[in-house]
């Protein structure tokens, strides 16, 4: 009896280890401690910063934190966007222009999550939007557009599907800047990555969620 229990426990342990152990690289990092949310976010921010600094040598715009506070009553958008321009004359006429771009800190990065996790997180955003107000969201998904037949207004969204591919959730976004549809937008169902500030607004008595000041890749 004891022998069989021992065999059984051993088999269960083998099963668990087979399905739980990851790549060699992953297991190697165990000793150095696990990566927290902040680590992951910082890592993403660092990559973003590196990417931006390469492509914006001539830019001298520093974007400060953008805060959007939207209450349930849909009092919307207290936005503070400060632009500091480095004045060449301060450092001398011939001083080289220094470009320092601070990317917005991403609070919820959906691009790092599995499809099951993304769907669940977006669902929670829809069910409990108050918990996400003012947070910077980054997400990837299919581009979608809906045109209100009465007003003619276009609504743009990033759509994600669950693992069974039968359910879909989407978050509307409003791009930061002047863009016209369809010239400045991708084709419907194209894969896009959107980063913006989560907010809600009321229209026709319904509360809708959206990403304000969004940037689309």
């Amino acid at each position: 009896m004891k022998r069989k229990i021992t065999i059984l426990i051993s088999l269960v342990m083998i099963m668990m280890s087979l399905s739980a152990c990851g790549k060699a690289a992953d297991s190697g990092s165990r000793g150095s401690g696990t990566k927290g949310v902040n680590d992951v976010l910082e890592e993403g921010a660092a990559k973003e910063e590196e990417k931006n600094s390469e492509t914006t040598q001539e830019e001298v715009t520093t974007e400060k934190e953008t805060e959007v506070t939207t209450e349930a009553t849909t009092e919307m958008t207290t936005e503070e966007e400060t632009t500091e321009v480095a004045d060449a004359s301060e450092d001398g006429e011939n001083a080289p222009k220094e470009a320092t771009v601070v990317p917005p800190e991403i609070d919820v990065d959906l691009t790092k999550l599995s499809s099951t996790m993304v769907y669940s997180e977006v669902y929670n955003m829809m069910v409990d939007p108050d918990s996400y107000l003012g947070k910077t969201i980054k997400m990837s998904g299919a581009f979608a557009v809906y045109t209100d037949q009465e007003s003619g207004k276009n609504y743009f969204a990033c759509i994600i599907q669950d693992a069974t591919a039968c359910c879909a959730q989407g978050i509307e976004f409003t791009l930061d800047g002047d863009y016209s549809y369809p010239a400045d937008y991708p084709a419907v169902n194209d894969e896009i990555t959107v980063t913006g500030t989560f907010a809600t607004y009321e229209e026709d008595g319904y509360i809708y969620s959206t990403l304000l000041n969004a940037k689309m890749d």
Partner: protein
Amino acid sequence: MLDTLTYYLKFPFVQYAIIVGVLIALCSSLLGVTLVLKRFSFIGDGLSHVAFGAMAIASIVDVSFGESSRSSGQNDMLIVLPITIISAILLLWTGQNTKIKGDAAIAMISVGALAIGYLLMNIFSTSTNLSGDVCSTLFGSTSILTLKSSEVWLCIVLSIVVVLAFIYFYNKIFAVTFDESFAKAVGTKANAYNLIIAVIIAVIIVLAMNLVGSLLVTALIIFPALSAMRVFKSFLSVTVCAAIFSVICALLGIFLSIIYGTPVGSTIVAVDMAGFFVFSIVGKVGGKA
């Protein structure tokens, strides 16, 4: 992978899913042994289809109650649970004495409820994504990862009730499971205990629909029991082994599904199946304990 899992475990909805998943797996495995031995393995399927039909009714009632009730989600349980319990009683308790017996009664109620449920959802649904709703109810989809705290608490309370009832009535359930006629002969109120078993099963089915969806509920009930029976002989050892097996498989299934982005319900069932094959080999090699 461990880093990813640790990162995911910080999300509240993942923590909810683990709590509810473990509790549901534990509860479903306890009664699974009894159902398999009483030749009622398929009752989970039948009752889950009834619960599907009841959910369709609940969604219609929610529409009439208004938006506030719809968002709470509490009305679903208030309607789904009683209907499922009544069906379980009809099948398990009175089913033996009626003209339509056992498997025929289960099959009839199962397909009937499924058809009525889908029909009602089509006729009265206000959802823009009917196929998504149906798919989510049948296969679980990400239901377990979209629970609200109130639903988690409800699940905790119901699970505690189920476990306590099983422990309290353990000897009687044992007697009724193995030899109902003998139990009746020695004065045990077999019908009353069958009624208790029916109620507990109905509660488990309704809870388990959150985890794996109505089509896959049966897997949570039968795989742990059948796997444990490959290795152990006694009722107690089979029940304990089934409970441990079920909890481990549910946890593994949830972890794998969130890491690899697979559907939760079917991943758990796949892990259950893998476990069953492992236990079958152990049973063949080592014999039964």
